[in-house]
Assembly symmetry: C2
Homo-oligomer: 309 residues x 2
């Protein structure tokens, strides 16, 4: 403003949290959703899948958190190129707003799947992932957000109606079943296989393992060295009769695709970067949400697909 001229009074915004619904028909009520993706590598298939989501894009905001360093820089460049294209393309495809956060830390371990899945690397890696998720969440959740959809940046295939389909179950927290496409050499054909082991129903074995652990130790899923005998949702896919609507209650959830009512996060549910009941990250999140009175659910027959390196 020019010298001596009064700037307009800054905005005062007044929000009623009880006007923020999370309903089974979120499009009709024009409920806004924030899609959050921690992103270490950019995959074109991820972006293409995002663009195909049939939820009205003017109700979708996107948030990314990208690590510092060379790999993070090139992921950012690739992401920004696609954003520029989408946001200047057809109006119907444009998203309401986009936030990119750059972390002040680099990635914990090399990004090769074999390396990042090593048991010894898990605690530090998942603590770092938790902090990245929390930074993204605390920074981007706004007063008008009804839903938060966590979607990893290597999820490359979901039904276009993903958001509507998950929301229709009217659950505080809900996860589809994350699979991976691969070439089955025995069958000499394309096939699918379970990918995400973090969605599970607890077991007595896991509980008793936990009770003998040091307070900072964490239970991990998917390691032969630590047989938990939990019921893993990913193995409950019923290929013969994939009833899409089937829902099961869960004690731990994965974060590859995870729909959360924003009020669950607002109550304080975050991703513990420390051992919380011997759980960490998204599994600890489900436990924390439970302590806040919110339940977690899974859809064993509703598949989404993870990239295959």
């Amino acid at each position: 403003t020019k010298d001596g001229e009064l700037p307009p009074p800054p905005p005062v915004v007044h929000y009623h949290l009880n006007n923020l619904t999370t309903s089974i028909d979120p499009i009709a009520r024009r409920e806004t959703i924030l899609i959050l993706s921690p992103l270490a590598r950019f995959y074109q298939e991820y972006w293409d899948n995002l663009l195909e989501l049939s939820y009205p894009h003017d109700l979708i905001s996107l948030g990314f958190i990208i690590p510092k360093g060379r790999e993070g820089n090139s992921a950012t460049t690739a992401l920004q190129a696609q954003i520029a294209k989408t946001q200047s393309g057809p109006i119907k495809k444009r998203f309401a707003s986009i936030t990119i956060l750059r972390q002040d830390t680099e990635m914990q371990t090399s990004q090769a799947e074999s390396e990042r899945h090593k048991m010894a690397n898990q605690k530090a890696r998942r603590a770092a992932m938790s902090k990245a998720r929390n930074s993204l969440l605390f920074t981007t959740l706004g007063p008008t957000t009804s839903w938060v959809l966590w979607m990893d940046a290597d999820i490359i295939e979901t039904p276009p109606s993903l958001i509507q389909d998950l929301a229709a179950h009217d659950k505080p927290i809900i996860v589809p079943n994350c699979f991976q496409r691969y070439f089955n050499k025995e069958k000499s054909a394309q096939d699918v296989r379970p990918y995400d082991y973090n969605s599970w129903i607890d077991s007595v074995t896991a509980q008793s393992l936990a009770s003998s652990m040091d307070k900072d130790d964490i239970l991990l899923e998917g390691y032969a060295e630590m047989a938990t005998y939990r019921s893993l949702m990913t193995y409950m896919y019923d290929e013969a009769n994939p009833e899409l609507e089937r829902e099961i209650e869960l004690d731990g959830v994965g974060g590859t695709v995870l729909l959360v009512k924003a009020e669950v996060h607002r109550d304080g549910a975050m991703f513990p970067p420390f051992a919380f009941y011997h759980l960490i990250e998204t599994e600890g999140f489900a436990k924390m949400a439970k302590r806040l009175g919110w339940s977690s659910w899974g859809l064993p027959n509703y598949l989404v697909f993870h990239y295959n390196e």
Copy 2:
């Protein structure tokens, strides 16, 4: 926009978290601060004190959360009247932005001090306060916030240089000593006395009390029925020689006035509405921050004052 006219592309905002400093000279670096107040009643003295803060107001955003119901409505009306006056008054006094959230729940208990301090009411009341604080925090923390100052709406007197003074200690979490003015009948004179018991150094007694508790039980401070023998900061005020700069490390903190580096919250530190190591709300926050690697500090001789009903 008119039919057929293209709206401008929506904003894409890119933030580098490592450019967000929290330094001992926050004014020189133009670091932004978010002042957050849960507010059940409006006190003019609170607002007047806020207006006198000498930190540049264009670097200050304000956030309020106010309960539903009749009392909340009248507090909102009173607050809005003062906001309207301030934001249309002298430019130097105007704040950068203001957000008012209305909760979807009413207050837990009557607001009389005698009633709200009853031990039986503490767990539910402090769980509700935790959720209110979390909602406010998750909703208002933005990508450009360097500092968060928690200030209860019944804090009516602080030094004008409060923010600069606390920031100068360069601590992740820091609290001044919250006192109350009252009329001392014995002395027949105005006097001061300790008010906030939630800033303390832990004791062996409290630890062993905790270890025999049910997992959902919480330790409370300031109740004769539960003698913790913790060292309460509020009793460490040295009237004879009030060395303002003196700092002590704390295990629990109160929230009446509490300065937090935003990165502590971004890492995931929130106000547990459930028993977290048998602690809740602001005391649980200090414990959670500790688990995330952040320490808490107190200034026993730096006084701020709570309203006296």
